[in-house]
Amino acid sequence: MRTEELTLNLGPSHPSTHGVCRLVVRLDGEVVTHVEPVIGHLHRGIEKMAENRTYLQVVPLTDRLDYVGSMYANWAYCRAVERLAGIRVPERAEYLRVIVCELQRIASHMMGIGSSAADTGATSAFLYAFAQRDLVIDLFEALCGARLTYNYVRPGGVAFDLPEGWVEQCRSFVAQHPSAMLEIDELFFGNVIARARLKGIGVLDADTAVAWGVSGPSARGSGVDWDLRRDDPYSVYPRFDFDVVVGSNGDAYDRARVRLWECIESCRIIEQALDQLEPGPVMAEGLPRLLAPRPGDAYDHIESARGSLGVYLVSDGSVRPYRMKVRSPAFCNLAVLPLIATGHTLSDLLVILGSLDPVFGEVDR
């Protein structure tokens, strides 16, 4: 029987596109023959806005890039500024940055794993993961008074020192988190339906991942053993003992499960960091309110929950950046979607999108 292909829009307002992505899908029955992500629905021009704001005023903007992991953009930006202005960050501030960013990794991965589960219909697993995320958010709120947009990491250090009792609160969270993770692992990843839904779906091999610039858990799920925390060590990461979690099949299951185990690794890092934490200043001394770095350009990157998040800053010597560019991992990861989703069914398409864990604030900037 002669059949025709069907064109379908998923998004920009769709419960599983993780934001405002529009997928133009061509379907042959249920099978996706062609998919084109149409992005930019959340393009807010942050790079342009940064050109008219002082270096300090840009920090709140970076909060809103990757709104699931605001700390990363804060940190990447601050590292670029520090590189540009030659600021030395106090050690305690570096530890605090590591701690909050690993907590942020947990929070972000909870969102990623949870939405992976929700994409396949397991909403309860999403809520359990989100309950864990809520605990992290509580920690962040106690730390800097905001739930999502922290503005915590600043050029030269961090905005506040830890409040009283925070370390204990953090320790108790870290102590219970792995067991909660194992429960989610049993509930979702061990489930026969979830395995059937995720395994062998959206296979991305290691070479393609590298060639397409895929980074983070999405690449590690394909067996690309590359983690900036270990391979381009920054901050105080070399002082911690942790494993880089690597998958082998490169399918949606591995990508999602890499995230799960990364959370447990993050707990290890946080515990070590809390042990090594020593009193001291949290902000570089003698930092002027208005930074005016010498002309030049600097790039620095960190391993965010989505991959290598870089900020490229060009200074013309004035108090405002001449140009800011965010190398967003979600953007690069998303580019590979048409490659790995074609040939799967419509249901799998959304699972694959979810397994890449894009955040459109960062994709579109």
């Binding site: 934001g19 629905h41 807010r44 809520l127 989100f130 947009t149 459109f360």
Partner: protein
């Protein structure tokens, strides 16, 4: 067939009809207020808080408020997040596809006025009220889920003033300035109100 407005008008005049109308209104407004199903028009950060609002910690289901992804089944559109010029037509379209009666909650400053993205940017719509009739505005960047909860309660109050009969509909807060006026929010467009204000004096 006469429209319900005509019938309502007739009833309003008829003896005892007023009581009937009041009863129907009460039932209608009560049921609408207690069963506000939301369409999550979540685009950015606020969407996270919207999700948090319906999840374990805040659980909006307690209020009978549940998110539905299909606009056809929803009463309230919660615009949570930045609306760009590229996104605006979709938002408008979805709003128009919602069945009457429908309300709009602008959640977070991006939806209210563009918020942090008000100045210097070329692609952000400065407030969803530029193309949608917003009923409740929530301040915050992003607002806490409690603020959304508060908005739902405010919306209930607003709904409570509606009626089947057009004559019985009470305008809400009519003494407040209308949106068509130059908005107070656009500070720089207002002339300097106080002539004595420091213009050339030393600006501390």
């Amino acid at each position: 067939m006469a429209t319900i407005e005509d019938i309502a008008e007739f009833l309003d005049k008829a003896p005892g009809g007023g009581i009937l109308l009041t009863t129907v209104d009460a039932v209608m407004n009560w049921s609408r207020g207690k069963s506000l199903w939301t369409f999550p028009m979540g685009t950015a950060c606020c969407a996270m808080e919207f999700i948090a609002a319906s999840f374990s910690r805040f659980d909006f289901d307690r209020h009978g408020t549940i998110p539905r992804p299909d606009p056809r089944h929803c009463d309230v559109m919660v615009v949570a997040g930045t609306i760009t010029h590229k996104m605006a037509p979709a938002v408008k379209r979805i709003y128009e596809q919602m069945p009457e009666p429908k309300w709009v909650v602008a959640m977070g400053n991006c939806a209210v006025s563009g918020g942090i993205f008000y100045y210097d940017t070329y692609s952000v719509v400065r407030g969803v009220d530029e193309f949608l009739p917003v009923d409740v505005y929530i301040a915050g960047c992003p607002p806490r889920p409690e603020a959304l909860q508060d908005a739902i309660l405010q919306l209930r109050k607003k709904i409570a003033s509606e009626s089947i009969s057009p004559r019985r509909r009470r305008p809400v807060a009519s003494e407040l300035p209308q949106p068509s006026d130059p908005r107070k929010g656009d500070l720089e467009e207002q002339p300097l109100a106080r002539s004595k204000a420091t213009a050339g004096g030393p600006d501390v």
